[in-house]
């Protein structure tokens, strides 16, 4: 598979010196993920600090947020993560196809095209559900500035200030929308990148067991986004 062009000969055989032991795109993605850890540290850390500063004044879990809907979303993201890793395994084994019959089995065997499509659909589904969630929340009166005056939630909060954390609703809205919003932004970026790869690289069958860098790198990003969501789901929705 190695086509030795003039350009390749000029470049150092990567890595010339023992580096991280992986190709540069993957290394670069890992460094970027380390950087993203710090970005989410700023957002999540601030949430933890601010919430800690409030004592027990925070709204009770499930009072404002729709946990079953988000539970569905979590399920979607976990599914997309496993389909992503299946896509990676498929291309590493050279399965470029969509679905193929396996003798002696009823289920067809999925290839890269199938699993990446599943990932994209689940990812897009996640974003879609999040948009629906936001619209519903804002409709109920939950906004980044707190409970909107005269809204349903504001009335509830008046009736049961402890359950709805009436005193700190502003901070609740601020942290909730910032954290989940930037997570949603990351998911959206991932879906767009995967769509781009799907049409420019996966459908034309440009990946091979010798070179599947794009799939592995976007996979790392995608699993990281999933990982952040696992943490967010627990600390924002359940605690």
């Amino acid at each position: 598979m190695q086509t030795t062009t003039m350009t390749d000969a000029m470049r150092p055989p990567v890595p010339a010196e023992p580096g991280a032991g992986v190709y540069s795109n993957k290394l670069g993605m890992w460094v970027f993920l380390a950087s993203d850890v710090m970005f989410f540290t700023a957002l999540i850390g601030s949430y933890i600090v601010l919430r800690f500063g409030m004592g027990s004044a925070w709204a009770r879990p499930g009072a404002v947020l729709n946990v079953p809907l988000t539970g569905l979303n979590t399920f979607l993201l976990i599914c997309s993560s496993v389909s992503m890793v299946k896509a990676y395994a498929a291309i590493a084994d050279g399965k470029k196809y969509f679905l193929r019959k396996v003798p002696g089995k009823t289920l067809q065997d999925g290839g890269l095209k199938f699993w990446l499509l599943v990932t994209i659909i689940c990812g897009a589904g996640f974003v879609g559900v999040q948009v629906v969630e936001y619209i519903k929340l804002v409709g109920h009166g939950f906004t980044p500035t707190g409970y909107r005056e005269g809204s349903l939630l504001a009335e509830h909060a008046l009736a049961d200030p402890v359950k709805y954390g009436a005193g700190v609703a502003g901070m609740y809205g601020s942290t909730f929308f910032t954290m989940t919003g930037f997570h949603g932004f990351h998911v959206t970026c991932g879906v767009i990148s995967m769509l781009y790869l799907y049409f420019t690289k996966v459908l034309p069958e440009k990946y091979s067991p010798q070179d599947y860098r794009g799939i592995e790198v976007i996979g790392l990003y995608w699993h990281f986004v999933d990982l952040v969501w696992i943490i967010l789901f627990t600390i924002v929705y359940l605690i």
């Binding site: 150092p12 601010l50 070179d211």
Partner: protein, 589 residues
Amino acid sequence: MTTVAHTPTEAHHAPMSFWRKYIFSTDHKIIGIQFLFVSLFFLLVGGLLAMQIRWQLGFPGKPLPGGGILPESMVSGGVILPEYYIQLVTMHGTFMVFFAIMPLLVGVYANFLIPLKIGTHDMAFPRINMWSFWLALLAGLIMLAGFFVPDGAPRAGWTMYAPLSARPDLSGATISQKLWSISIVVLGLSSVMGSVNYITTIINHRAPGMHWFRMPLSVWALFITAILAVLALPVLQGAAIMLLFDQTIGTHFFDPGAGGQPLLWQHLFWFFGHPEVYILILPAMGMVSDIIANGSRKPIFGYHSMVFAIIGIAFLGWIVWGHHMFMSGMNPTLGSTFMVSTLLIAVPSAIKVFNWMGTMWRGNLRFHVPMLNAIGFVSMFTIGGLSGIFMAATPVDIPLHDTQFIVAHLHYVLFGGSLFALFAAIPYWYPKMFGRMMSERIGKLHFFLTFIFYNMTFFPMHIIGMGGQMRRIYDPTIYDFLKPQQPLNVFISYSAFALFAVQFLFLFNFLWSLKRGKKAPQNPWEDNGMEWSLPNPAPHGNWDKTPNVYRGPYEFSAPEAGDKDYLPQYLKLPTDRDPVPAPLPAGGH
């Protein structure tokens, strides 16, 4: 993400258009040069702002010369208004830190030097590198736009302490405060892109034989700097996003009325801010190490401890941020912890200073302009480092905190440190960039005048700071206790004007030498670095064939060198064996 590592370098086959070659270039050297011109421009802008600050402090109430061209919202009858003065101090700090010193050291020299010094053809991701430059420029322009919107530039100091920065009704600046946040988010993105590139390139693209402990200290310093940037900038980005949301959509992160915490901003800002301080000085230390070894014709004294000192400074840099907040009402127990970690930074810094001196000891010193400026760096950085001890000791920090003493300290580090290092680095690698030498004579004149006026400007600031003059005050003369030291303020202002004027010598030298400078020989400084195996200026794609590295970077006056007093890393002696490249990783490369 997938193809960037293999952008074909058609440079060797077909001539590229002017636009591809010099404007939307992916060549690391062109990007470095683009950064150089842009950040020199911002350096000039920052300097102009500083002159206005000095005018106001030296001569409060007197009309600013040429102030007539400024609009009525900034000056009244030629006299600087308090609201404009605060914009001046805010934007001076912002421009100098984020758009002058940081891109000059990291944007220019990380881009330019890393591939050349580790013997590779370009960055790992050349296209991301190009984006990094254009985003940095965009961020700079957004920041500059602050001066031209209604209400003028941001007014909360470069540290943007909330809630002053979060509430336009308190600061008086509505639009530009938001522009500041947006600009910083964009700049953070640019820095992260650049740093991911630097780290990946250094880890994975070193030429055969360039072991970790054969890398020049400049590359080590830039590597550690990139690690600091990649981990610190996102924290600032996150904080700036929260600030932006506070300013625009009404969130309450830093709003004490709704349970927000103003100190949270300070913690996040300085958690980024202290590593940032080392981002601004480590590359300078690295380049100065290279230049001092060259000027002394001696191997650097204690190479390994120099590397570990850089790593030590970077590590300690993460656990000292609280020393910016000793007076902020932070828990005093935390203050004690931060004091100890801060004082410990003196140890690696001392190692570096003494090792530089050890390098000069029994050397054969050549006083070319880069060497002069490097010696200037060592002596001035020492003052800056030592004056830091006063403020690290918490009780002594009480009278000195937020006074002109800290202004003196930070300028000794950033001007006496980083800028002197740049005055050394720019002429040193100028031939590699442009193929010509900068004038030695003007360079020496510039060094001596700068050295004198610089000390006359910033040393007295220690004294007025001890006297208690607060930072960022518009008019010190309204205070009885500051009135007696006003003559010193006047003296500082005159020195500052002279210092600024002298910098035009450098600017002239820089621009004039582009066309008229002496043609550079291949290795003008008789240096050992990999970059000097290339013609000047270095061609696109650097080497035709990947070079081999045979030894460490500082083999000056080595016995094997024979009658020469230097032994380049790329020179193969009969006794040297060719290094063996490492095996390739799975999944592509």
